[in-house]
Every structure is written in structure tokens, then in C-alpha cells.
């Protein structure tokens, strides 16, 4: 069996989403404590999403705040509380776009599948990949923190169109359909970009692990 068993993560995500949906229902119903809880929860989420997209603390604060204002401005338009997470992230995505339009213009950079493929020597099933020993990922807490830093850095270096897909799918737990709606692209585009984003992060991690394992890190383009 080679399929992915992400059931633990899925269960946590589902539980968190059920809590958010309940909170959204209470917010819409005007329950007194819902406002404060909603602001605290989603302001932190919006800030952390914006920080990974924008890369700067001040920009992320500004974007998170702008997005939160928009959320409350448009709250009367939210018809389905169960869609609260994609609804909020659509607003966040637009706020990030506005911020970037105001600051820098960066042309969309494409990640090539060929450049993300590992190099292999030999034929067929006898082929040996030139990749790190991933079974040796550090268990030690300090080293794990270092790996987390590498992952965070790798995500932040992704071109925007890939980064937003990975953040929505793998960090915020949106489905392919929801991410497609937030980003206003087809589900096929979401799948393609997500795969390339993951491959690019994998490649950076592989370089890091090979270097940590005393191997030679390939030249980076």
C-alpha cells in the first residue's frame, strides 16, 4: 500500500473547521461572545497566511487588518456559515493582491516539472536516485525546529501562484474545489500548481538534508 494516510491531520482539520462553522453561525446570530472569538481566531489566521504570502510583518499586519474589515463589511452576504473558511480566505487573497499591486509588480514565475524531477542513474527499477536519505529526518526537537525553518523558508520562496495554492491546500486545509473557488482558477490548475509547489519544497528540503548528511548539494538555479 503506497497511498497516503493523512487521517490524523484530516481529523484535526475537520474538527477545527466544525468549530469555525459553529462560531460563524453564532456570529451571524449575533451571540455576544462570538465577535471577540471570531476576531481573535481569524485575525491570527489572516496574519499568518499574509505573512507567508507577503513576507513582511508590517505588510501582513496591514493585510490581515484590511481583510478583517472586509469580512465584517461583507458579513451580511455570507449565506452559508459552513463555507466560512474559503469565504474568509478569498477576501484575504484579494487583500494580498491589492497590497502587492501597491508595492511591487512581479511577473508570474512558472516552475518547470523537469527541473523538479530527481536525477537518477541506472535503468528501470534498478535506477538509483540521487536524493537524500529521507528516513533520517531528525527526531530531535532542535533539529526538527531547523527543518521547520527550512520548510517555512522554502514555502516563502515559492512564486506567488504556487505559494497561495500550497498555503490554502496544505496549511489551511481547503479542498481542491474550495481552493479553486478562492483563487478563481480551475481544479486542474489547483492540482497542477499544488504538485509543483510540493515538489519545489521537497527539492529544497532534499538539498538541506543532503548537505546535513555530508553529501554534495547540487548547484541551485
Amino acid at each position: 500500500m503506497f497511498g497516503y494516510n493523512g487521517s490524523g491531520w484530516r481529523a484535526l482539520t475537520t474538527e477545527a473547521r466544525e468549530r469555525e462553522i459553529e462560531l460563524a453561525r453564532r456570529l451571524i446570530a449575533g451571540e455576544p461572545e462570538a465577535f471577540e472569538r471570531f476576531v481573535e481566531l481569524f485575525r491570527t489566521k489572516l496574519f499568518q497566511y499574509s505573512l507567508l504570502v507577503c513576507g513582511h510583518h508590517e505588510d501582513a499586519e496591514e493585510v490581515a487588518q484590511d481583510a478583517l474589515f472586509k469580512v465584517f463589511e461583507k458579513l451580511d452576504q455570507l449565506r452559508e456559515p459552513e463555507r466560512i473558511r474559503p469565504w474568509v480566505f478569498r477576501i484575504a487573497r484579494n487583500a494580498c493582491l491589492m497590497k502587492r499591486r501597491r508595492s511591487v509588480f512581479a511577473p508570474a514565475e512558472e516552475l518547470s516539472l523537469d527541473e523538479l524531477m530527481p536525477v537518477g542513474a541506472g535503468d528501470g527499477g534498478q535506477r538509483k536516485l540521487e536524493i537524500a536519505d529521507w528516513s533520517a529526518l531528525p527526531e530531535d526537537q532542535a533539529l526538527r525546529a531547523e527543518v521547520q525553518r527550512v520548510v517555512r523558508q522554502a514555502i516563502s520562496e515559492l512564486p506567488d501562484i504556487y505559494k497561495t495554492v500550497l498555503l490554502l491546500r496544505d496549511i489551511e486545509g481547503l479542498s481542491t474545489t474550495e481552493a479553486a473557488e478562492v483563487l478563481e482558477v480551475s481544479e486542474e490548475v489547483v492540482k497542477t500548481r499544488l504538485h509543483r509547489a510540493r515538489l519545489a519544497v521537497r527539492q529544497k528540503l532534499d538539498w538541506y538534508l543532503r548537505s546535513a548528511q555530508g553529501g554534495r548539494t547540487p548547484a541551485r538555479g
Binding site: 500500500m1 503506497f2 497511498g3 497516503y4 493523512g6 491531520w9 451571524i28 446570530a29 449575533g30 451571540e31 455576544p32 461572545e33 465577535f35 476576531v39 485575525r43 491570527t44 496574519f47 499568518q48 505573512l51 510583518h57 499586519e61 487588518q65 478583517l68 474589515f69 465584517f72 463589511e73 461583507k74 458579513l75 451580511d76 516539472l113 524531477m117 530527481p118 537518477g120 535503468d123 528501470g124 527499477g125 535506477r127 538509483k128 536516485l129 536524493i131 537524500a132 529521507w134 529526518l137 527543518v147 521547520q148 520548510v151 517555512r152 514555502i155 500550497l166 496544505d170 496549511i171 481542491t176 492540482k191 504538485h195 510540493r198 515538489l199 519544497v201 521537497r202 528540503l205 532534499d206
Partner: protein, 105 residues
């Protein structure tokens, strides 16, 4: 022999493009079965898939890093005002008992 080797490499390449969908169980059943069958005879693809699976796990395990600074009272008041307006627009109804306390800054 060489033909088989080329065919196998082409198959590895085709599968390489589908590995995320395979991990996410988003492929049609027959494609999924084809990939599983290929993986059973291709240790390099299994090794690569494992590294991709761990990458996804690490992305999902990213812990909250920096936190936003405190929200100013002025911003909080503006948000509350917008919230009250949205509730009124939704026709949620306000009897003043619960919300009035909430709207105090």
C-alpha cells in the same frame, strides 16, 4: 531490453506528474491502480513518493510562527460597528440586551 528500459522510464515520468493527486486520493480508480502496480516494481519511485509524502506532512505540521501585534481599541471599535451594521442588514434583530454589552468598547 533497451525498449523496456525506455518504457519504464517513460512510465516513471508519467507517474511523477501524478504523485500529489495519488497521495491526495484524487485520481480515478483505474489510474490509482496503475500507479500502485508500477510502484510495486519500482523502488526509486517509491523512495521519491515517500520523500514527497514527508514533505506534505512537514508543510501541514508548520507551527504558527510570529503572532500579530495587539489590536488597537480604535480598530476593534470600527470592526464592532461594521459587525453591528452587518447584523442589522441581515435582519438578525437586536433587542439590545446581549449586543449592547458586546458593542461597548
Amino acid at each position: 531490453m533497451e525498449n523496456n528500459s525506455h518504457q519504464h522510464a517513460a512510465e516513471c515520468r508519467r507517474i511523477f506528474a501524478l504523485l500529489s493527486e495519488y497521495l491526495d486520493a484524487e485520481l480515478p480508480g483505474d489510474t490509482c491502480e496503475e500507479i500502485t502496480a508500477h510502484l510495486q516494481g519500482c523502488p526509486p519511485c517509491v523512495e521519491f513518493l515517500e520523500s514527497l509524502r514527508k514533505t506534505v506532512e512537514l508543510c501541514r505540521a508548520i507551527q504558527a510562527g510570529e503572532q500579530p501585534g495587539p489590536l488597537s481599541q480604535a480598530v476593534r471599535r470600527q470592526l464592532r460597528a461594521l459587525y453591528q451594521k452587518a447584523l442589522a442588514a441581515r435582519g438578525a434583530g437586536h433587542d439590545g440586551s446581549g449586543d449592547s454589552a458586546m458593542m461597548k468598547s
